[in-house]
């Protein structure tokens, strides 16, 4: 569980699993996931995972961002209107 603080006004509105959430400018999509309590499940065993390093090394923060699967959410700055969804298992591939 994580919480915002008043020292950093949350001015950017994103949606995490369809729910609106405000984060400060400079927060990454992974921060939004942590605030919303959303993680992912692994492609191999479906084990629950969540961000670990927040600096682009561990790849645990994989999420679907604006419809694109398996993005490294900690490297993607939150932008207004961004849609973030949990990555559940292996991504789908194939014709839309």
């Amino acid at each position: 569980m994580f919480a915002l603080r008043p020292e950093r006004p949350a001015t950017i509105e994103v949606a995490v699993e369809g729910q609106p959430l405000r984060v400060p400018e400079g927060a990454s999509a992974a921060v939004a996931m942590l605030l919303a309590g959303i993680g992912r499940t692994t492609a191999l065993s479906g084990a629950p995972r969540a961000p670990y390093c927040l600096m682009g090394v561990c790849f645990e923060c994989l999420a679907e961002i604006d419809g694109v699967a398996n993005q490294q959410a900690c490297m993607v700055p939150a932008r207004p209107g961004m849609r973030i969804r949990a990555q559940r298992g292996a991504r789908r591939a194939g014709p839309a």
């Binding site: 694109v68 398996n70 298992g89 991504r91 591939a93």
Partner: protein
């Protein structure tokens, strides 16, 4: 310093890649006490760069003996896979649903059709089934085919497997059947006489009446010592590997296959650059471009890793199999299709080596064929 004591075996195999390991295990399976000498991590290790196809349809145009040998290997593969699974509890991931070679233009399709027809003619009495399939029907077989795809050639003989699992299983089966595996053992010295060979490696001395060179690109240097020739050169190929995806491709394509774990492997390239293992973005781009033209949905997948590897290539692209005339008992085996030919190497070639004579069906694969060409 005293010389190391001699360790005697019934066969010495040099090279622990897909070729050497398959032969070594095949010899073990024939009951021969075998030692397998493997170089360290510094070796070129073509096996680690293998794409993983068990591929028949493209092999042996103008050389029906190669077509037959490849067909035979694909036929032996299920037995190989089952045997390895039983002995090592390793699933090498063999699937043989048939395979396609995509054509992205009408001239490509026509050229392919001619090639397949010629292969069938050359196959003679051995039935060679294939179909040329046009895009509308192909779309029912392969999901999300790109608009550039005109058609494909299909044969039911093609398939794929996991090359690293295969390598691991061959090694495991070998050691569990009593084979002796010596890593970090580059051959320093060799001595040869008919049916009497000795090799110094890793500070140890090994002797046997049979010796097999399965050291890939290393064979070129080793061969003369044992009265053999292995005129092979490196030929670079680059491969891209994507993130895992839910199962989507029902069969392999010459340059695209989905692994059991779900990643898509995308190849390939043919580059004559010597012993250069660098990756090159322009080639990687061309590979990616063809893949996206074949299946537009592939464009969305992330490439997680890629590599380049050196194929072991004879002047005509066919394998080289020989027994030394000067030193009978010494054999060489070279090819660039270590996965496809693993079935034949373990279950057909190894018994021949154990018996001491290569079957006449392998006569056309002698390195002597290059001397003839040079002379003419």
């Amino acid at each position: 310093m005293s010389a190391p004591r001699t360790e005697s075996f019934e066969a010495i195999v040099i090279g622990g890649g897909l070729v050497g390991a398959a032969i070594a295990w095949g010899l073990c399976r024939q009951g021969l006490a075998t030692v397998l000498l493997d170089e360290g991590d510094i070796a070129y290790r073509a096996s680690r760069g293998n794409f993983g196809l068990v591929w028949v349809q493209s092999k042996g145009l103008g050389a029906p003996w190669y077509q037959r040998w490849t067909r035979a290997s694909a036929g032996e593969w299920p037995r190989l896979a089952a045997d390895l699974a039983a002995r090592t509890a390793t699933d090498v991931g063999l699937q043989q649903p048939g395979g396609v070679h995509l054509c992205l233009s009408e001239p490509e399709f026509e050229a392919r059709a001619e090639r397949m027809a010629q292969m069938q003619r050359e196959a003679g009495n051995t039935p060679y089934e294939y179909r040329m399939i046009r895009a509308p029907e192909l779309r029912d077989m392969l999901p999300g085919l790109g608009p550039d795809v005109v058609g494909a050639s299909f044969t039911p003989y093609d398939g794929h497997a996991n090359p690293l699992r295969l390598l691991h299983a061959l090694h495991r089966a070998f050691t569990e059947a009593g084979g002796v595996y010596v890593p970090e053992a580059k051959v320093e010295e060799g001595a040869a006489a008919p049916h009497d060979f000795a090799v110094l490696a890793a500070g140890r001395r090994f002797a046997a009446p049979r010796l097999v060179l399965g050291a890939g690109l290393g064979n070129a240097e080793l061969a003369p010592c044992f009265g053999l020739a292995a005129p092979v050169r490196p030929q670079r190929g680059q491969v891209l590997v994507t993130e895992r995806a839910a199962e989507i491709l029902p069969m392999p394509i010459t340059t695209i296959r989905q692994t059991q774990e779900g990643s898509l492997m995308i190849g390939d390239s043919i580059e004559e650059v010597g012993f250069d293992l660098r990756q090159t973005p322009p080639v990687m781009q061309a590979i990616a471009d063809r893949a996206v033209r074949s299946f537009p949905w592939i464009g969305e997948l992330s490439i997680v890793r890629a590599w380049s590897a050196l194929r072991v290539m004879a002047p005509d692209g066919l394998p080289i199999y020989d027994q030394s005339a000067r030193f009978p008992g010494a054999f060489t085996a070279n090819c660039h299709s270590g996965v496809t030919l693993a079935g034949a190497h373990a279950l057909l070639l190894a018994p021949m080596i154990a018996q001491g004579a290569l079957d006449p069906m392998l006569d056309p694969f002698t390195a002597g064929r290059f001397d003839v060409r040079a002379a003419s």
